[in-house]
């Protein structure tokens, strides 16, 4: 095991750990050290998904290192994944260090997306740890001359249950490889004996984050590094016609103006010089106005060519049943284009030396990004090394990858390390966007108010290829990914309710106005909004209580049923408010909603309480009650933190957020034009977790986000009788809906 010393004499990770009992997971170590660290460790380190050594190492002092392909995006998984390892190996949590998202060191466990870090990544890691534990027990049995079944492990020390001679993990394996395949049959620890998993262990990254000691990618530096800024075109498809390099000649510190086709950047010795030069550089660009008119966005979506239909569910004969229904209800729902709008604009550092590229990036998919960068620069994957350094929260595929490509291109041009930090207007203007979503729904009721048919048609862009294209690659005329990848946005277009005739179809569109990508609960949020708000319309038409109505059609799902009943009690539901509480212009109401995420995993139900100003159209979400069943809970406080974040962020998206644009470009380029929820507007939240320690752990990073828009829409209807079918729920839209109510 490496034993690094730092240039500044600061303690290493391990020494820090031993000194304080705390562990700094993301490095407080200066960048240079980590770089050397990664390179020296490259030799011989397996990253194969089926090898125990890909995930785990135990050093000569018994310290465990977890190598995780899943990365910390601010959700707390760096603590939760270490909990899983410590639990399964029976070592102290403080004795588990983490190396994350390093293409030379960690297995390619897939992007950190889709609420899968624990459900998939953690389960892979747990199985590797269980395999390691079995191997250690076998070896200990040999050395101690005691059957493995008679051995117990405490804090990394193995001894016979009855006492006697003992041996430590360090003595058994310290510094050596396991050289073992992950055994899918290796027995897992009985959850009834858990002492670390299931506990609200404090996150190890919070002390450095609240004291300025944490190194985000935005803080990352290497010696000799230059600062780059990309000059974006004034229109998305503009062609660069000319550049006047002399226009920045008077700014000290400017090293070079880099132009390659439509890629234009300045590189300077200081960050401020780069910023000033990028602002001042004179360039002329062609005109381009290929965006649709924002005021006619939904007409544009409806008129877009459909490349294919994905039928996401088809039971019975929905269209025939609709024709025969005693009563038919239909509505169209839409959901605006959203930006990830990360608090810190994207940033990366790259170094190109001796034909090899090293990038420090906050990409949620370092391995996938490596392949993209290698493709862009016509290099071998093995000559590109991507090292994850945590950045500002991304909530999906924001622009960290693009900043990395910018830095890589500039580092190759300059032959020196280059840091590229995006500005606010770049982040809002050029991050890939959550695409516009439109759904038409129709339901049929029989004479007794039973649902006999449900038919929905979703209009969303097609998913083609495996990556979101890199801006720098396209602008510079280098190879880039030609497809468009919005994420698996047809998920949850099918419904969890057992109506006799159901048909749900997704029309996959050939194009969408902006480069699409996934933003937290991609598609699941939009589709759940449409389905659950429309279901509320159907329940009203059927004269049914919305809880009772849902339960009626969930009879084949005991976990879903249990969750809704628990929510009913947790939220003290007393039936739909028959007389709406109105005092002056203020009306209040409650709305319920439910999701089974992807119809396959985490269950969430929510009740939102709103206050509506009927005159101004302002909506205030006062309170949200959430019940969630995500199976086994690894860290309950981490789960609660995620649910709180899901709710608050999605209240923001639902009430306020909409990317605005003219025919050439995005115009919502700052926090005034792309406002998000502020402290006075944040609702109170109560959370009830259904813990099932013996079940599989399911994802928590997104599911609770998917229920929020419909909970608010249904509550606003309860308060006012007005249906909101278009996110965001702006005051103007509510005033219009009130006139029609």
């Amino acid at each position: 095991m490496r034993k690094p010393m730092t240039p500044t004499g600061k303690p290493t990770r391990r020494e820090f750990l031993q000194g304080t009992g705390l562990l700094v997971v993301s490095f407080s170590i200066p960048g240079l050290l980590r770089r050397a660290d990664a390179q020296s460790a490259t030799t011989g380190k397996t990253v194969a998904l089926d090898e125990v050594d890909a995930y785990l190492a135990i050093d000569a002092r018994g310290g465990v290192t977890l190598y995780s392909g899943k990365v910390e995006l601010g959700t707390g998984v760096s603590t939760a994944l270490r909990q899983i390892v410590a639990e399964e190996l029976d070592v102290a949590l403080a004795g588990v260090a983490l190396v994350e998202g390093d293409t030379a060191l960690t297995p390619a466990q897939g992007r950190t997306w889709g609420s899968l870090s624990i459900q998939v990544g953690g389960v892979q890691i747990r199985q590797a740890a269980a395999t390691a534990r079995q191997a250690l027990l076998r070896e200990a049995a040999k050395r101690l001359g005691v059957p493995a079944d008679d051995l117990i492990v405490e804090q990394g020390t193995v001894r016979p249950r009855s006492g006697g001679k003992q041996v430590t993990y360090a003595e058994l394996i310290g510094g050596k490889n396991f050289s073992l395949k992950v055994d899918k049959q290796a027995p897992l620890k009985d959850p009834a004996k858990y002492s670390i998993v299931g506990k609200p262990v404090p996150r190890s990254d919070i002390p450095p984050k609240v004291t300025g000691q944490f190194t985000y990618v935005q803080d990352f530096r290497v010696p000799g590094m230059l600062h780059g800024r990309v000059v974006r075109p004034p229109a998305i498809g503009a062609i660069l016609e000319s550049v006047d390099e002399s226009s920045v000649g008077d700014i000290p510190g400017v090293v070079r103006v880099v132009r390659r086709n439509n890629f234009l950047a300045v590189v300077a010795g200081s960050e401020w010089a780069a910023i000033r030069a990028a602002q001042k550089l004179k360039a002329s660009w062609s005109a381009w106005n290929g965006l649709p008119e924002q005021s006619r966005l939904w007409e544009y979506v409806r008129a877009t060519k459909v490349n294919k239909d994905d039928v996401t569910s088809n039971t019975g004969e929905a269209e025939k049943a609709l024709q025969q229904a005693a009563r038919r209800i239909s509505a169209s729902y839409d959901f605006a284009i959203h930006s990830h709008a990360s608090m810190g604009p994207s940033c990366a550092v790259a170094d190109f030396k001796d034909g090899k590229l090293t990038c420090w990036s906050a990409s949620q998919g370092p391995h996938e990004l490596r392949t993209q960068l290698a493709n862009m620069l016509s290099m071998k994957d093995s000559d590109v090394h991507v090292i994850y350094v945590e950045g500002s929260g991304c909530y999906g595929r924001n622009a960290h990858e693009d900043a990395t490509a910018d830095a890589a291109l500039l580092a190759r041009e300059l032959g020196r390390p280059v840091r590229v930090q995006w500005m606010r207007e770049e982040e809002n203007g050029w991050d890939p966007k959550g695409p516009p979503t439109l759904m038409d729904l129709e339901a049929g009721l029989d004479a007794s108010g039973q649902v006999v048919a449900w038919h929905s048609q979703l209009y969303v862009p097609e998913g083609v290829g495996s990556n979101v294209k890199l801006l720098a690659a396209e602008a510079a005329g280098l190879p880039f990914d030609k497809g468009m990848l919005p994420g698996n946005i047809i998920n949850n277009s099918a419904i969890p309710y057992s109506f006799p005739n159901v048909r749900t179809v997704a029309h996959r569109l050939a194009e969408t106005p902006f480069r699409p990508s996934w933003i937290r609960a991609p598609g699941r949020m939009q589709n759940t909004f449409c389905n659950e708000a429309f279901l509320d319309e159907v329940a009203v038409a059927a004269g049914a209580d919305p809880f009772e109505f849902r339960l009626r059609y969930l009879s084949n799902d005991p976990r879903g049923t249990e969750l809704l009943k628990r929510l009913m009690s947790f939220a003290r539901w007393q039936g739909r408010t028959s007389t709406r509480a109105v005092s002056g212009d203020i009306a209040s109401g409650r709305g319920v909603t439910y999701v089974k995420y992807e119809l396959a995993r985490t269950y969430v139900g929510a009740v939102a309480d709103v206050e509506v100003n009927r005159r101004s159209g302002d909506i205030r979400v006062k309170h949200v009650a959430v019940v969630q069943d995500c199976g086994q809970i690894v860290n309950p406080d981490g789960v609660r933190n995620q649910i709180e974040g899901n709710v608050v962020q999605t209240v923001s998206r639902t009430l306020k957020e909409e990317v605005t644009f003219d025919r050439s470009r995005v115009t919502s380029l700052d926090w005034a034009s792309y406002p998000i929820l502020t402290f006075p507007e944040v609702p109170d939240i109560d959370i009830d977790l259904i813990d099932r320690p013996a079940e599989k752990p399911w994802g928590v990073g997104e599911p609770a986000a998917s229920v929020v828009p419909s909970a608010i829409a249904n509550a606003v209807f309860d308060a006012t009788g007005a249906r909101l079918r278009s996110v965001p729920f702006t005051p103007a839209k509510l005033r219009a809906a009130l006139q029609n109510a």
């Binding site: 200081s270 401020w272 608090m343 608050v648 944040v682």
Partner: protein
């Protein structure tokens, strides 16, 4: 343009830096010249609060504060409040309440709250919400931040 040497009083020490533009925002001097990682670049427009530092005890947006306006004022950054080994009460309150997700906004939350608590004893929740109204958080950690500030207020 000639370079200039400027003295800044930062976290109890006088630090000399060399810059070529006296109107450079204070944020870049703290981050790039002095290597501090508490104050963060979020917008450069004074809209989000991530860059907040104290100037003579007042919370200011360092991203829109030119160096030329700092003069002899005493600057305190997040690092100047406390360390992981010895956190300030407000930092400890954030740790106790686990009040961070990505944590990028937290510098601003703590610096704004510390300045607010220094002049407001026993604030109501509504007062805390108003005090932090111009500090943005994208992860949705607001309720934990409120709990942390309340906790710090009762310990102050």
């Amino acid at each position: 343009m000639a370079t200039k040497t400027i003295s800044l009083h930062v976290n109890g020490q006088v630090r000399r830096i060399t810059v070529d533009d006296a109107d450079m925002p204070l944020l870049y001097a703290l981050r790039d010249n002095l290597g501090l990682q508490g104050p963060r670049f979020g917008c450069g427009l004074g809209q989000c609060g991530a860059c907040t530092v104290h100037l003579d005890g007042n919370a200011v947006r360092s991203c829109i504060t030119p160096l030329s306006a700092v003069g002899k004022k005493k600057i305190v950054t997040l690092e100047g409040l406390g360390s992981p080994a010895k956190p300030a009460p407000i930092q400890q309150a954030f740790i106790t309440e686990q009040a961070a997700q990505c944590g990028f906004c937290i510098n601003g939350m703590i610096m704004e709250a510390a300045a607010f608590l220094a002049r407001t004893k026993n604030p109501s929740e509504a007062q805390i919400r108003e005090a932090l109204a111009n500090n943005l958080c994208r992860c949705g950690t607001h309720l934990r931040i409120l709990r942390a500030v309340k906790r710090a207020a009762t310990r102050a």
